[in-house]
């Protein structure tokens, strides 16, 4: 990890500061890659296996869930295997796992459901050897859909857990 690429990521993070202004790591090096349209800003680094964009686009930063479920499909497990591998290789990064739900449900139940989903991912990554202290979970319930329509095509994409990568600050 070069100084240059870190700087780049930091800048990209500022550009992308979107959904949350949250300072979830207690420092300002947060990169929120959840925004679906944001990848363009990172173009050029998707080929670099050590870059968060590679993590987001090539490995896949998100897994999807069945209605009301928080257990991982085999497809999801495959994605998470890749995520775990990447995290084990790139130890300068940590991750926040965001759990989401579709809009079919009450606000509070969906918050709890999102927490379940995020936790499923966290547990899986930990089972693959990622240190638990590099992973945090948060649930957005139904507050942050990525697809806007009100039918199953959109709902299926909104029932997700997204692993958001951020650099660990060099102290």
């Amino acid at each position: 990890m070069t100084y240059l690429s870190k700087t780049f990521i930091l800048c990209a993070g500022l550009v992308l500061a979107a959904c949350t202004n949250a300072d979830r790591f207690g420092d300002s090096n947060t990169v929120d890659l959840n925004s679906s349209g944001g990848a363009g800003a990172m173009a050029g680094t998707a080929q670099d296996p050590a870059s968060p964009v590679y993590f987001q686009q090539t490995i896949g930063d998100r897994v999807l869930f069945q209605v009301d479920q928080s257990n991982l499909t085999s497809e999801a497990q495959e994605t998470l295997d890749g995520q775990a591998q990447w995290l084990l290789t790139n130890t300068d990064y940590k991750a926040v796992i965001e759990g989401h739900a579709d809009e079919q449900g009450t606000r509070e139940y969906n918050l709890a459901l999102g927490a379940r989903r995020a936790n499923s991912v966290q547990e899986y990554l930990v089972s693959k050897g990622v240190a638990g202290n590099r992973l945090k979970v948060v649930s957005y319930g139904k507050e942050r859909p990525i697809e806007l329509c009100s039918n199953e095509a959109c709902y299926a994409k909104n029932r997700r857990a997204v692993t958001v990568i951020a650099a660990i600050p060099s102290s």
């Binding site: 979107a18 959904c19 949350t20 202004n21 949250a22 300072d23 979830r24 928080s70 926040v96 809009e103 079919q104 449900g105 009450t106 606000r107 509070e108 139940y109 918050l111 709890a112 459901l113 927490a115 379940r116 995020a118 936790n119 499923s120 966290q122 547990e123 945090k136 979970v137 948060v138 649930s139 957005y140 507050e143 942050r144 859909p145 990525i146 806007l148 329509c149 009100s150």
Partner: protein, 440 residues
């Protein structure tokens, strides 16, 4: 022939005597009536100067809007009036008001005293009985508080006629929404129950959810993502001072609600994917865990006596409603209908629980008795949720969201009979209402 008649009379007499004895006044029993809005007239409150007259007109308007807004009353438009009320103290021309079928008449007068205070007097008449209902009343307040005075007048009228406790002089804290669905910004806001006098309590920097009034209406609990994770905050509505409630790192807390003493707070904590209910003393921050199950337990609400908590749990496989002692312990399931139940809220009267129900792809607001019986669905739409009770337990306000990419949220209210569904006017999108107690 005589014998037959005689024996008939004799046979019947013993049996008939009670009926006979009742035969003084004619007795009838009325068991069928009508349910319709009661027509009333609220002429402009009179005043001896132009400024006061303008105020008198506005006050009468708000009084009429409050009453008509309940669905229990119907305003008779002023152009139908035969009589003009020109003086507060002159006798009421009952005949003129009867002729237009005004069953209740509200008259009032507005003056500004030497200290600049607004002085409002009013009387309420039962037109057909030809008499005053209750005594005249005088209210004094600041001039820019005229709406509150109008609400208080309407509260008096409403209570004197219906017998219900009043509720117009109350406020609603809610989440003001703007922006598209995927980047919706949310701010805490507060307004009068009728949508007037909106002011904002937070900016839109962080997502805020589900504010809940304290029993005295002075504080609000809400959930904010200010820290990056959902946490519970308490805000003093007057000073807008806020603080986060105690919570441990790595856990999310949400769905807070005050107990009736204003001291206990019950809420959900998610940790390790599991969501359970906790209870905290808001001043000391000491908390105890109320449930300990691998299922989701959330959306708790105290009974008005503080002895019990109704909440939502999916321990049976789908979200259903349960009641447990306020200190935790065994819970009884109370919802058994088809579908999923959530966000139960105990009515201030204690007899009903309002809830959100999801069934066959639609959402409903409903009420049931506290043992789960007599379930009745009051609304139906693509997405209704989050009921809150008016201070008198007669009206429910809730969030209704429309579907699709352009979907937006707004507030609606409905009488607990299921009548009078109407939108609460707000300038922006609005969700998660919480109704204050009646203001003092």
């Amino acid at each position: 022939m005589m014998r037959v008649l005689l024996s008939l009379v004799l046979a019947c007499l013993v049996w008939a005597m009670p009926a006979f004895a009742q035969n003084g006044p004619l007795r009838i029993e009325i068991t069928e009536g009508v349910i319709e809005p009661l027509p009333f007239a609220a002429p402009d409150f009179v005043s001896d100067n132009a400024a006061g007259a303008e105020m008198g007109r506005k006050i009468a308007e708000v009084v009429a809007a409050d009453l008509a807004g309940t669905g229990l009353f119907r305003e008779i438009q002023p152009d139908a009036f035969i009589s003009r009320v020109t003086s507060f103290s002159s006798p009421v021309q009952y005949a003129d008001w009867k002729a237009i079928n005004a069953q209740a008449l509200i008259t009032g007068a507005v003056t500004v005293d030497s200290g600049g205070k607004l002085v409002v007097r009013f009387r309420l008449f039962d037109v057909f009985a030809g008499q005053e209902l209750g005594d005249g009343l005088q209210l004094v307040g600041t001039q820019d508080g005229w709406r509150r005075i109008a609400h208080k007048v309407a509260d008096q009228v409403y209570s004197r006629i219906t017998g219900e406790a009043p509720y117009f002089d109350s406020r609603v804290v809610f989440v003001a929404e703007s922006g598209p669905k995927d980047q919706r910004s949310k701010r805490l806001a507060i307004m009068d129950y009728d949508g007037a006098n909106v002011s904002y309590l937070t900016d839109s920097a962080s997502i805020v959810l589900a504010p809940r009034f304290s029993p005295d209406g002075k504080r609000v609990l809400y959930t904010s993502y200010e820290s990056g994770f959902p946490r519970i905050y308490v805000m003093n509505v007057g000073s807008v001072q806020q603080r986060v409630l105690e919570s441990q790192d790595g856990q999310m807390s949400f769905a807070p609600r005050f107990g009736p003493d204003g001291q206990a707070v019950v809420y959900s904590v998610s940790r390790g994917g599991n969501t359970d209910l906790y209870r905290m003393d808001i001043d000391s921050g000491a908390s105890t865990r109320l449930t300990n199950a691998p299922s989701i337990e959330t959306a708790p609400s105290f009974s008005p006596d503080g002895d019990q908590i109704v909440f939502e749990s999916d321990r049976s496989g789908t979200p259903q409603l349960y009641i447990m002692p306020a200190s935790g312990g065994e819970a009884q399931r109370i919802s058994f209908g088809q579908g999923r139940y959530g966000t139960p809220v105990w009515s201030p009267r204690g007899d009903l629980i309002a809830f959100t129900k999801q069934s066959k792809g639609r959402f409903h607001i409903g009420v049931m008795r506290t043992d789960g019986s007599e379930e009745r669905l009051l609304t139906a739409s693509f997405l209704d949720e989050g009921p809150t009770w008016s201070p008198n337990g007669r009206v429910i306000m809730f969030t209704r969201e429309t579907q699709g990419a352009q979907g937006s949220a707004s507030l609606y209210s409905v009488d607990i009979t299921g009548r009078n569904l109407r939108q609460v006017p707000t300038k922006t999108g609005a969700s998660d209402p919480s109704w204050s107690p009646l203001q003092e």
